[in-house]
Symmetry: C2
Amino acid sequence: MTHVYDVFEVRLNAAFAGNPYLEVTLHADFSFGNRTVRVTGFYDGEDSYVLRFMPDCEGEWTYRTKSNLAALDRIGGGLTAVPARPDVHGPVRVRHRFHFAYADGTTYLPFGTTCYAWTHQPIALQEETLATLAKTGFNKLRMAVFPKDYPFNTNEPLQPIYLAGADGNLDFDRPNPAAFRHFEAQIAQLGEMGLEADVILFHPYDRWGYATMTAAQNRRYVAYIAARLAAFRNVWWSLANEYDFMLNTIPMADWDGFCHILEENDPWQHLKSIHNGDPKMNFDHRKPWISHVCIQNWDVKRMPEWRAAYGKPVIDDEPEYEGTIWPAWGNITAEELVHRFWLALMRGGYAGHGETYADPDDLIWWAKGGKLKGEAWQRIAFLHALLRDSGVVGLEPMSGLIDGWPWTRVSGVKDLGGRVSFIYFGEHQPNQWTTGLPTDDGRYAVDLIDTWAMTVTPARQIPPLVQHPTRHGDAVRGGVADAAFGIELPGRPHLALRIVKLA
Amino acid sequence: MTHVYDVFEVRLNAAFAGNPYLEVTLHADFSFGNRTVRVTGFYDGEDSYVLRFMPDCEGEWTYRTKSNLAALDRIGGGLTAVPARPDVHGPVRVRHRFHFAYADGTTYLPFGTTCYAWTHQPIALQEETLATLAKTGFNKLRMAVFPKDYPFNTNEPLQPIYLAGADGNLDFDRPNPAAFRHFEAQIAQLGEMGLEADVILFHPYDRWGYATMTAAQNRRYVAYIAARLAAFRNVWWSLANEYDFMLNTIPMADWDGFCHILEENDPWQHLKSIHNGDPKMNFDHRKPWISHVCIQNWDVKRMPEWRAAYGKPVIDDEPEYEGTIWPAWGNITAEELVHRFWLALMRGGYAGHGETYADPDDLIWWAKGGKLKGEAWQRIAFLHALLRDSGVVGLEPMSGLIDGWPWTRVSGVKDLGGRVSFIYFGEHQPNQWTTGLPTDDGRYAVDLIDTWAMTVTPARQIPPLVQHPTRHGDAVRGGVADAAFGIELPGRPHLALRIVKLA
């Protein structure tokens, strides 16, 4: 008996004289009525082979293996899939073009943070990371398979990702099952906590050789990790972090191939994207094997441009990190990061959190996890809860795909659910507001939100602004629409409005 | 006897039965040795005709008129040009491609503000405007020839710009000499106070008909205002404010023609530009008759893009205004406007100030002048004084034309004078900094500047940052250069460094 969206595992044993990683193929067809799902198996060490399957509907499934090793071939069995456990909603999918939902239809609003190398730190620190995450509103974590060599990241990982060969060097044809099992255990733990694991397959911060494997080794690695991880409902594939900083070792053409290998070996087609370093080097996210846009860019007001360019959900994973370390991507204020989160959301996209406060022991959340020291994460949790509690399905810019007046300056979104809209003023501090407010004669509850103080208070409705006519200017260009009412505002920054239509 | 850069005026009288504005032509050739400067005259009412000349070098000048009216033709005379008065430096020119200097070689760093319709307000308010300007560090004022009809601008102007015809309507073939004389007097007054007058010839905010004159009337108006104003050393030509909002009355093709008319009738070739409304509608400032770029754009970090696109000095006149009025271009915080000024300057461009605090009597600096109520202007004056006192000639981005790492995030400039450089952190708050600091073994004075508190204090020099090597990342891409020293920073925002090479 397996719950829908949980992992059903088949473990088989067979002796093999050669290198099973290179030479043994293993698949299984899982069947449900006329439907067949092809699952790739993998070698897990010590003559053990594994097939992992995630049932996505209730009922009786059967399976039958296929292998070039006789002992693994034509083995059959079955499972009974029962209803998903409470709070388990399945993998996240794209919905309504620019937004996300779990497989069971529950809305998913990505509010992610970043601990690139947390699974490679001492176990006590990993436990602290999980305990910290449990206190936050984050529901996604960017994390890399390979350990990290970088400023502030000089310690050795807990264990190597590949086994040492006879010469003592890592043998990139022999994955270390223990390392992957640990990584999987942490993904599973995140899943239980309601977090998606945004798994980064490649990155350039390396002194061990992971960034300089051969092209064939890279392809095998991608197939292998797909076989190992795809049955975990909360996995997302992030092909790389800052792919453009490793084009000297992984050329541009290879990335598409990795996506195809994932598609071949991931029966559940988890979300796939790839993250740039240089803001001018966004990947061509229009490609059909990219499910959503991941970018690094400080200029989050440009969100509508990226939506229009790629036509997919946009997550700005790195709108710069809150902190004080010397690299210029890692030292904005908490206020600025909170501002950028609101801007991203209030222009139809999503943002990612990271924290990089200088630490005497280099214990920095962004790479190692541990403790959060800043002041943005609480406000981000507040924003997340506010949207969730408001029943948000997906926020669409008031101006449509390309932003028009005044939405290049202030930000406004309407929810696809049709009941709620938001206007975010940020650095703007008008003493009243009318544009974008409802134009019908329905009843509305309007709240004033202080994005820093995390307060929600009723806003005072006033007569709509009647603008002195402008012969060639605003009136013609839609400066103030025919709103049914206006809102009085206190003339200070970092405020937003929530407008809810009452029944 | 006329001082260099002052106005020498020739006034002639002649009776004429028709409309002198339409029918009488008047020019004079002013000669100095073999050099000849052709000056256009204008009709000033009551049978009076005027020629204005600004000598740009000392010595004996002679002139001789040419007119289709015999009484004005072949009239000769002369003047003795003596050295310029103290603090008079002549017209501002482009220097070093992206910067400005007065004709006598004195550096000019534009720090402008905006009072679009100040010359059309009651005289007492105009006097208050001048008194306010005298307290500030502003050295340029954007101001329109025509009065303004717009939200918060509903009052009638002091006087019409054209005379009423027999039908009581304005006759756009009969300029009102009194209105222009008043406008000129205020330009002269600004000149005495050290301010350039950025004269806006057309704008769309109109209920009197100035924005809907015929094409021929527009062309005559441009020639007329050039004849009247060109001899004032402190005039800049701003062809329009938000030209793209009046394309329904002045089509795109006409703007180039206006520039040519200015070139024909302005012997001193004052600076010329044209200001857009929609951020996507920048004029094509590459055209040779445009001397410098004027734009309206909130995204001042993109300054290096505009420098590269146009290859000319860039002034972002409207990076949004400090205030609380409802239009989204007029309600950012003082902190944000100060930030945007620093960003513009620290990326090789210039910015413009405006203030739009809601006022019960609509007395708003941006249009009417009067009093300044905000907190940005003092910080802008501080920045201006800091650059002037540092002997700045022209600030060039550390990264050259197109910005590279880390200068898309923080901002750094070197002065063309070779002695001083600045790094501006803004929303960034690193605890130390090395990139962009001097690489030689000279002695340097480094000051920490608090851009809001307006303090300049010595910064602590520390050993340069030695970065943990990154195999594919920052080190290769120049994250930290081989600086001779680093600077300790307090880990809070809105700071800058000034680095001065000691003799």
